[in-house]
Each structure stands twice: as C-alpha cells, then as structure tokens.
Symmetry: D2
Subunit: 430 residues, 4 copies
C-alpha cells in the first residue's frame, strides 16, 4: 500500500489520523530504504512488525503472488499445502538460474532481492567479525565438509598434477572425508604435545612437503576452531611454509568467525566465568582443568579419577550428563580406534594417538548465560560424585544431602534411563 491508498480511508477515520499514521509508517519504510541502500546490518535490530511488513512486501514482488499470473513453466512456485506457503511468507519461488546460483531470477524479484540483501548482510557481518578484506560472499545450504570439497575441486584446475593434501590432524570426520570426496589423498601430520596443549608440528609439515615435492601437493589444509586440549593450527607459520613452496593454503575457519577478536571481546567475561567455575569444580573433585591458553573457546577437564578406578567411568559420565539434560559436552576416553574412509585413527576424538588422560570438553558460546554455567557445574559436580561413590562403595560428602532446589524429576528420570544409555555415551554430543 502507500499513503495514496489509505487516503481513501480518510472518509472513515478522519484525514488527520490517516495522515499521522502515514507519517508514522514512513519510519518503517525508512528502515527498509536504509537496508536497501547500504546493505548493512542496522544498528538496532528491527522489531517484528517491520520484519513481517518487509517480508510480505517482498512476497508480492514474486510472480507466484501476482494476481492474475499465468504460469506455463515447470517452475512456477506452486505449493500444495497452505501451511508450507505460510511459513515461507509465500516466498516460494526458487531463485538463481541454471548454472548460476547467484543470478537474479526474473520471476522472483522479491526472493532475489532478499537473497542479495542476505549476502550483503553476511559480508557486513564477516567484516565486523574481524575479516575486513573479504570482498564477496554468498549463502548456500552447504556444510563444512562440502565447502571444503568444493575448494579442493576449484584448486584442482590450477594444479592438475597434485595428488596430496597436507593435513595437521583434527578428529572430525567431515574434514577428513572432504579430501577423499574431492579425490585427493590426505597426508596426516600428527600434533605435538606442548604442556597440556596439542599443537601443529611445523617441522613435520615442512619435511613432508620436501619429501613429496610441492607440485604433487594440492594444498595445506589447516583448522582454526577445535576442542581443547587441541588448539588452533599455527596459521602464520603454515602460511610462511606455503609461500616459500608456492602451495595454496586452505584454512577451515568453521565456527572461526564467531571466535575472532570481535566476538572474543564480547565473550571474554563469560569465558573467564566458565573457566573459573570449572577450575573450582575440578579441584573439589581431585581433577585438573587443562591449561590450554591458545584455545579461546573450549576448555577441558581431566577425568583421571574415573579412569583409574573403573573402566566404564568415563563412558558412564557421558551417559549421565545426557540423561540429565546437559548437552554439548563431550567425554573423550583413551584408546578409541576408528577407521574413516580407509584410514585408521588411534586415540580417535583426542586428535592424537595417545593423550595422557581422558577428559571432558565444554565450550563458551554466544548466548550462554551465567545461570547456564551454574546449572552445568551443579549437574556435573553431582554426576562426578555419584560415579565416585559407586566406584568406592563408600560415602562421598555432598551426594546424599544434595541441594534440593534442583528439579527432582530430572534426577529420578535420569536414574531410570542411565542403564539404557550406557552404550550410547560417546554420542552425547557432536
């Protein structure tokens, strides 16, 4: 609509009020105009009334919402279910064109405009997050592994003789599979233990480059974001090696945008809080918080006591946390062996063949609150005490007379489920 349309309403509710409304309406339009002109994230988030108005306006720009449209193609934004139409705000038509996903679709100007704005906002966000030199980007529904595969396939055209990819080990299946899928042979470089931390073995990387010869290497494939005690790869030193030998450097920066300087500042306080609370808990339970200063997001807590007394303790802890609705932690036992696409990894999940002890991971993320940390610490503490008590067949202070403010239902239910879940404990996260 526009103010002319609503002028027809003046007869019914007085010109003054309609005019006042039209002026007020312009503040919504002004936000839209700024978005379209600048293509940047607004300082203040839009409220839902502006958002929905904008989405409805975009929808009527698409041909499937033209009144009296006549569609004789194979792709006309027809939808059988009103429920589906509605939850997409009637933005139903596909965008892009055959062979060019970023092309404007003439039959869907609204959806295409939304797509362009989305890409523009993402570019703005990446810059804000600390990568000011990025020139262009676009959003597609492709996960980490496929993105990497596409990068490798693109490099193939430049380096037709290359067969290998040099890869400092990180125990994430999709990263490994991405190289196999693209048709290359991953060359795994084991990490080295420095204090508690697992870090990139730069000498091993350079030695391997010399052994295989630069031309046979497609790229070095490094990783920025990982669970403690592994820390981000030594990007700058790897970049020097790449430059010296003329090899491309592909950096898997998944989750990395959110761990950049910018984000880090926002979260610093929370990260300290989680770190301090975990430290206290570890000491009270005869364990230790691993010292991993190079990992800005993730923390790890040793599980030595469980490990020593009882074989199944670590697994049991994972199951117990899961049934007590603690999600997102990972327990890493010792000595798992896993074969992925034909390659056998010893000590799988720990990024190294033999880490000194079993441990548990937790991470501080955007949106986490102090209460979340407190709840986590409380439940974890109780689980640790319960397991130790069972192992020792003797009383552990603080278990029986536990704080009753915790929801009793969760605990009771959890006890019932514990046995069922023993088998699935390693799976309590991903």
């Amino acid at each position: 609509m526009n103010c002319d349309t609503f002028a027809a309403g003046e007869r019914l509710v007085s010109p003054a009020y309609v005019r006042q409304s039209c002026e007020a309406r312009r503040s919504h339009e002004h936000l839209v105009l700024q978005l379209l002109e600048k293509g940047k994230c607004p300082e203040d988030g839009w409220d839902e009334s502006t958002l929905e108005l904008f989405l409805h306006e975009l929808a009527v720009m698409d041909s499937n919402n033209f009144l009296g449209n006549c569609g004789v193609g194979e792709r006309e934004g027809r939808v059988a279910s009103a429920l589906v139409a509605r939850r997409h705000y009637r933005l139903i038509h596909g965008i892009g064109r055959s062979g060019d996903i970023s092309a404007v679709q003439p039959k869907a100007a609204g959806s295409s405009l939304l797509n362009k704005i989305t890409n523009s906002l993402l570019l703005d966000i990446i810059k804000l997050a600390g990568v000011p030199t990025v020139a262009s980007c676009f959003v597609v529904p492709v996960a980490t592994g496929m993105s990497l595969t596409l990068c490798f396939l693109t490099l193939r055209h430049q380096r037709p003789k290359a067969k290998y990819i040099i890869w400092p080990r990180i125990d994430q299946k999709s990263c490994f599979k991405s190289m196999i899928t693209a048709g290359f042979e991953p060359v795994v470089i084991e990490n080295v233990l420095e204090g508690d931390e697992l870090r990139t073995d730069l000498k091993a990387v350079e030695a391997k480059v010399q052994e295989l010869g630069p031309d046979s290497i497609l790229c070095i494939h490094s990783t920025t974001s990982c669970f403690a005690p592994r820390v981000p790869d030594r990007l700058e030193e790897l970049a020097v090696i790449c430059a010296n030998y003329g090899i491309p450097h592909v950096v898997n920066n998944a989750y990395g945008v959110q761990s950049s300087k910018c984000m880090h500042l926002i979260q610093q306080e929370m990260f300290s809080y989680l770190s301090n609370q975990l430290k206290k808990l570890s000491e009270a339970n005869y364990e230790r918080l691993l010292q991993t200063p190079h990992n800005p997001i993730s923390l790890a807590l040793t599980l030595k006591t469980l490990d020593v007394h009882h074989d199944k303790g670590v697994t049991q802890l994972g199951a117990m946390l899961f049934t007590r609705h603690v999600s997102g932690t990972t327990v890493v036992p010792l000595g798992l062996v896993q074969t992925v696409s034909g390659h056998t990894f010893r000590g799988f999940m720990s990024h190294t063949n033999a880490y000194p002890c079993a441990y548990l991971n937790a991470a501080a993320t955007i949106g986490m609150k102090t209460q979340d940390v407190d709840l986590f610490i409380k439940r974890l503490d109780k689980c640790l005490k319960t397991i130790r008590k069972e192992q020792n067949k003797e009383s552990v202070p603080g278990v029986d007379n536990y704080d009753k403010t915790e929801n009793v239902d969760i605990e009771e239910t959890a006890l019932k489920l514990d046995n069922v879940l023993l088998d699935t404990c390693q799976d309590s996260s991903s």
Copy 2:
C-alpha cells in the same frame, strides 16, 4: 512500502524486474482501494497474501506500532506475550472511546479503519441477504439475549408506563431471560398445533393486548428462527396487531439473516436432499418425518417407536449420537418440566405443553455437504436399529451385517462410552 522504496532495490535486481513487481503490486493495492472506497464485499474473496498484507499495513497505522512512540496513558496497547501480539496481527489497541463504542480512536487509526470497514461489509451482507432497507449496523460481541435486553431498555425510554412483553412461546432460555433482565414481565402465549406444526396463536395475542391494555405493554416479542415442528412466528399478522394498537414489534431474527430468501435459494437443493434422505430413513424405521413446510431450515423426525417400547430410548438415542460424533441434532422427549427465572415451562424444549410425540431435530446449514448428510443418515440409522434391537430382544435386519466401510474405531469407542453418557443425553446439542 511503496514503489519509491523498492526503487532502492533496482541496483540489486535490475530496474525492469523491480518495476514489473511494482506494477503487479498495484493489483493488490487496487483491491484495497476498492474496499476502502466502496465499503462492500468484493466479488471474489481475497487471497491470503492480499489479506495479510492489508492487515500488516493497518497494524502499522496504530500508535502502539509507531517506532519511537511515547505512551503515558493507561491504555497504550502494551502486550506481555508475543504470541498474543502475533495472532492479532499486532492490532492490539482498543477502539471506540468512553461512552461511544463506534467513535474513531485517534491512537488506533488502523484498528478504527478496520472496524469501520467491518461494519460497512456487514451492512452490505445484510442487504444482500434480503433486508435492503437497513440503514446502519455495527458489530459488537453481544449474543442474542443481551441484544434483546438492550432493545427492551431502549424502548423503556419511549414507554415509561409499560410493564409487560407479549411473547409467543419459544423454548430458548436466553430469549426468556432477556425480558426478565430488562425488568419486564413476560406474558407467554402458548402456540397452537396446526397439523404437525406449532404456530403463533394470533387470537390469544390480540385478546391479551386488550386485556392488559396497550400502554402497559412494552412490545410484542416474536421469533423468526426455530426448530421444527415449531415454525417462524406469523410476522405479518403480528405486525398488523402492533400497528392497530400502537405497540412496538421486536423481532428476534437471530439466525434469520441466513434463512432469508437469498440464502434459501442457495440451500434449497441441500435442504431437499436432507429432507428426502430423512424421509426414507423414517419410513424404514417405522417413523415419520413431521410435515413442517413453514420451517425452511429445520426438520423433525418422530421417535414414537423408541418412546412406546422403552422409556429411556429417546435419551439413549441422544447419547449414542453424541458418542458417535454426530453433533448438532437434538432429541426432544415428552414431558420435561423446566423452571426458568421463576416461570415453569411444561413440555420444555418442544415449545408447547404437550406435543403428540417425542422427536429428533436436524438442520441444513451453510457449508453442509451431501457427504455430511449421508454420514449422518448412516449413523442415525444404525443407532435406531441398535436401540430397537435391544428393546425387542430380537433381530433387526441390517444391524449385524452393517456396512463395514464405516470407521470401526468410532463404533467400538462409542460402545464403551455409551453408558457413561446416558445422563448427559439431553445436552447433546445446543
């Protein structure tokens, strides 16, 4: 938004496509403009995309959706729950003003406009439905009884000496209570039986007017819509009496708009179908469809066989239909006595002291389909046969080898519920 706003999008998706979209958008605006100018029902119903666009546009006209609004009153359209805001399309502010429900509310121009349009559309619908002389109307959430009370209160100012309301009996509690609530004494005129039909006793009405004296009578209160075998009151003859004695005539036309000539034509076919099917069923079950040609919507089927053989048969039928998911029928037994606001009605529900037999009502309404009738007939037939079988302790053809296409679950479930519900059977409708 308007086309100027979206011109800012031309840079992103080409001027030609944006312009095409803006033109297409005008067809939505054109519908809105016509609605605002004419205030009449559109020939073709709007599709949801136009409807929702319009509602969102109206919402941003209300002050609670002004960006940067500053509200310091006691009524500012504040809502705690996003769920509530959303389901009202953010049209949250009240309308009307103290003491004048139809006044425009300056802080809610959008809601006020919607209110005015609603009233305008209703006026159009009433005219289309066959009342072309109606001059004005408005929608308020007030049911039949309260509407009548308000009419009587309004008449009081014109007729300060009046104490009585003359009322041809109809067994609907709210009609009776409306007179009591307004502070008047209802004078009940019993209906007369003509064939199967219960009709207005005009002589009794006139006699009562003469007996009480016109000045002591507030109005004659008649009814157009009722269940067979009662038929609509003789409006024209009553109007003559009113005119002769100078007494107002208040016609309770609830449901009447939908039974006017206009509606009648639309439904005639369905009504015949229901009538014919009920006739067949009644004959097959040794019952009779009551002849009530003056009632254009509702039909009644005698329940003599149930009545004769077994006292509880009628009640049981009501319960059985209810548990078999047949809703909207009413079974009317003989001899109910009910006291409403101090007045005792004999033969309550049947509109007369002693109707010759028990019966069952069904009605043909807008939106009913042939399949609905078929399903109803099938289930009713089965219920009747089942009851007779139980009563006679002998086989009734067609019960045991019943058509198995009917959902078996409903039948089984219903059998379980039957006993529970015997007490509530009269309530199976309203």
Copy 3:
C-alpha cells in the same frame, strides 16, 4: 500423542533417544497438569512451546476438529477462511449454552476447558491483586458501561420502587450513560475542592439521600479510579452512609485492580520517578505539579502560562503532543460545556464546574519504563517552550539549540501536521 505413539519411532532414531525425549516431554505435561489441578497462575510464565502445545491439544478436543465428525446443527465451528481458523488455533466452536454463558459446551470440551481455566486464573489474579474475599468471576467481552448497566438491572429486581442513583461526579461518559441505559435517573453530586484535589462531598450525598428517601434510591454509585486532580471517592465513608440507610453501594472499580496495594508496591518507584521529573519540568516552565496525594496513579500539571497568554495554547499543546507521538496524555482546558444524555456538564473533563486552572494529565502504568518517562518529559518540555516562544514572540532559552539526539524526522513531520490537528486536540487521548 503420547509416549506409546512415539515408541513407533524407536525403530528410526533409537529407543534411548525417544525415551529421553518422552521424559523431557513430561516436564511440559507436568506444567499442564499443575495448571489443571490448581487452576492458578504458574510461578514462572510458560514459554511459547508449552503454550502452543497446550492450545493445540485443547483444539483437538473440540468436535469441529474430530476427524470424521458429522455435524448437522446450526453451530458446528465451520470456518470459511483458513487464516481465521489458524489465528484461533482452531478453537473455533462457541462455548456456553443458550441462556447460560458459563455452561460447558459438550461439543467443545477443549474450548470449555480453556474458558474454565481462564476464569480460574482471573480469580487467582484478583486475589493476588488484593481482593482475597472474591468468590467467583468470569470473563466476558463487556466494557465498563455495560457492566454497570447489568449491575443496576440486577438491583432493580430487589428494589422495585427505586428511581434514582446517587453519583459523585466523574467526567466519563460511559459511567453516566450506564445509569440512563438501565432506566434510572442519575443524581449528580458535585465534588469539593480540598487544596488542589477534587474530593467526594459526603454531606451533599447524605443530604440528597434524606431528601429523596432511601427507598427511591437504587444505589450509590462511586468510582475508585480517575485522573488527577480528582481523587478516588471516599469509599469507606460512603459505605457507612449506605449501611445506615440500607442502600446498595455499587463501586466502579475499573482499572482499580491494577491500582490496588499489590500493584502499587510494584509501581511505586516508577510513579515517584514520573512525579519527580514532572515536578522539575513544571518548575522550569513556570508551572506547578498539582498536589494530589490521594491519587496513586495519575498526575496533573498546571497550564497557567499557556492559558494566560493565549486562548488556544492549551488546545495547541494537545495537538502538538499527538503529532509528536506522545499518546496517553490529556489536556484539560477551562470552561468546556458538554451535554450527555440530556444532562449538561459545565467544566466537562475536569469533574467540576470551575477548576482554578487548565492542566495536563499523565499516568504511570504497568509496563512503563524509565526511558518512556524521559522521552515524554523531553518532548513535553520542547512543546511547552515552542508554544511560549510563539506566544511571546521572543526567544525562549533551549528551543533553538535543542538536543539533536531526538529524532529529527518526528519533529519535522509534526510541524507539518500541527495546523491540521488543531481541531482535534481534545481528542488526543481516551
């Protein structure tokens, strides 16, 4: 659904996960169960996932959502528009029964249950708000005026000889009309000025009772909630008079629940803040905050300077606030005369024939924030200075070099609209 149903999903996603989910689901069910059993407001508000699950569950309890339902009544919850069905969560069937709005509707068990719970929650809220003796209540869409009319109509049955209602004046049309609509003659008792406050004239009330005779009086009709400088009626003293003469006491407590002790505590801080800020502003503008300690919600600021210098100043202020998106204030000029249902009120809006000066009202309400007050004070201050400047044709400090952080658009737009709105200024609130 229930856990048995989802057991069928164990084949697809593992028994452990389905069981975990079912346990988690019980916490939602537990909330529902508590609500149904206790019928009280939960300590913590439900989140939307629980709310919507509950509403969907209720909806499938109504017959219009039974799969295979067969409806042959005139009221079957049929809806033409999917949009309407959706926004009502498919709770479309009516509730209550003819003549008894609070009866359970057998065809709509879900909607009836929701209705019962709603009434139960409201009862809990009223008790929490400070009326612990209330025994029962129900929610109906009836505004203040109609509620009062219904109260008067109910009293009529007890006091058939009564003609008059004693009414300490409050300038709200609906209150006055409610007495007229019910067929009674309002006897207006003018308020007395005590300091800045307008208070109930108890002597005049009692004198009038004696003059007319108790039997001819239906009730005394008092009011708890009003705009300063009028304050709530002297309820306790009026109650004594009523008891002495055997006259009912009808208290219009609209908005009163929210101004009870309980609410008052919550808001006290905010009320002080608004009061202090208005005080500062009034002094800076050569005006005065009226001293109205008996009015716990509303405040009034004199407008003497506008009044003296220029006749239209007060009206202009109302218009200016409206166009600057300040809603909820009321400007009260001197000497308005208004006739309502045949009775002429001098000094209308001010609750008295001749209040000493014009003034502006503002109120502190639930949901108001400190920022709202600041924004209000800023805009009001600017309006006052602008008008004085125009009137004096001389510079007023602080207008020209005003704080530029205020949205410039609003000001510019407002200037354009000011003239258009001069006529509608008294209407800037209600």
Copy 4:
C-alpha cells in the same frame, strides 16, 4: 499431553466430555502411528490440525525445547529471533553428525525422526512414480548440478584413469558445469534432427567411445527431461553401449520423476488440451506446432513469421509475455553463441548448432488447470498479433477489437514496460 493429563480437566468440564475428546484425539494419534510404522504416504492427506500437532510434538523431543535444558556446546539450537523459531515450529537444532549427514542427532530426536520420515516418504513417492527398484534415498538441499558433480566424484574412485565424460548435448549450463567442476573433460555429442525432433546420435556416441578408449571414459551422461523439440535421450540404446564397453551410465533424471508413466497418465488429458489449443493458435497465426511425440511434457511453436519480417521480433515476444505476466515460456531465437566454462556453444538454447527456425516453448505441469491454458493462449495470441501488426504496419484482424474481458490494467501497464524490457527478453524464464 495424554489422556491422563486431561483427566485433571474432568473436574472442570465433566468426565464424559473429556473422555469423548480423548477418544477423538486417538484418531489423530492413529494417523501418526501409521506414519511411523509404515513410513509411507497416507492415502488421504492430513489436515492442518494433525500436521501441526505432530510438528509440535516432534519439537518438544528436541533438547533445545527441553524445559531446564543445560547446553554447553557450540551447537545448541539457540535462536535470537522468535520469528525464526516460530516459522520452524521450534525445530531449530541441526541434524546429522560430523561426516555423516544421515546419522541420528542425539540432541535432536524430534528433528532426526522428521528427517527419517521425510526420507521414507520420498522413497515411497519415487516408487509410486514408477521406479519400484529404488532401495534408498535421502533429501538434501543440493540442486541438479551439484548432485551430478557428486556422482562423478564417487565414480572417480572406481575409475582412476578416466578423464572424459561422453555427453549428448543439452543446453543447460548446470549440466555442463557439473562435469567441469568434478574435474573431467566433457565430450559433446551433437544431436541429430529427425523430423522436427532433436535426438541422440547413437553412432556418434559409439564412435567416440572407440576413439577415446573405454578406460579413459568416466561415464556416459544422458538426460531424460528437456524442452521440445529436443526429446529425452535414447536411454535403452545408450545403456546397451555402456554395457558392451563396461562404462557407467549416469542418467540426469531431474524433473523425470514427475514425467514417468504414473505422472504421465494423470496429466495426459491436460497435455492434450494444451497441445490442441496451441495447434489452433499456431494455425491461426501462420505458424506450426512442432511434431515432437517423444517429448511427453514440453511443446514448441515455430516463430517463423516473426523471424522473417523482423530481426527483433522473437526477442520482443519474450519481453511482451513477461510484462503480461505470462511466466514459464521460453523463446528460442536462432544463432545465439554462448561460451560456458571455456566451451563455445553455437545455437545455444536450441540444443543444436543450427535448428531450422526460432520457436517458443511451453510445458504442461502438475497443478496446471484448463483456465491457465486458456489464459496463456489468449495472451500469447494477442502478443503475436500485436507484433505482426507493428511489423506489417497494416491492420491485423482481431487486435484492435480484442476481447475486453481481459484485464485492461495488465495490458496498459505492460505497454509501458515493453521498451524497458527488450534487453532482458531471453531471460523471461529459466
């Protein structure tokens, strides 16, 4: 919820009604149970009340909707915008696990279950559509080109020596790019003209296989669905060649499922109707409907008259149809040259170097109605006459006195836009 929960409501609305509702509720549950057990499309589509109930139930199975959940991972289904949560029915958590997209995600049992059911339903649909031997499938957001690339990458592991892909030409960019992206060299086999149809050149295919040697060939890449006058590739003969030489056969069956036998039967009537109407129109306009019996969906109409008289006629027709809201047609001019990933295609869009004439495509698709065809024919006829008139500068019967029932606005608007759009005409579809 379950019936036990609602038993708590019996106190409020009577046990009989709650029990009736619970029984009715089971019919919804029964549908869910059947879906979970059989994993097949239900005979009758579910109504929205069942659908939404099911989705809400699934949502509360995911850990992000557990009340009291404690998430300390990097992926916890946190969402900043309520609008986003809502439109996803709060199914916000990711599914799959690192490196295995089809794995069950323990933290999202509901979403995982929905995913499994989706895949199961798709499998059922593919079987119904005429491919009974398909064993497994899953839904991922990957378009045609990427799907083909992944197929080629998978085959690479089996045929490490292969460099080439044999590809009967089809002018669709994404098909061609898919081979380049996977790192292979496409060998284009030109089609042969048989009557009006363009068909696979089987001899050229076999000759090329022999020339390059089977081991150097990754696969033959054929296509089932295309625009007339190209027809689907000769799949059976190609399959014989593949078998003889031991070469894999990759069939691009995009849109093919809907053109299978099953679908064909459904649509046959509509296809005949479109075909007949286009035939009449072509004769009335001195053009010809191309005879393409092997293409079961798409039709082509010669544009010789436009081509002969005026160079720009064909392009103009595309633009005119676009501005008149006819979407989905493609106009194919002669002699376009286009370079895709380094390969130059002559006669691009026509699947051959030099088709005898320009033409226009239209397709019959699921959901198309007779009225759609009529509207298309009407608008196309008018466009053709208008262009011829302009070209001939002489009157063409039927243009000036055209049927006025057509929406005049569309025509007027379209005239304004025509010039703007001349440049974009080839883009009027995709």
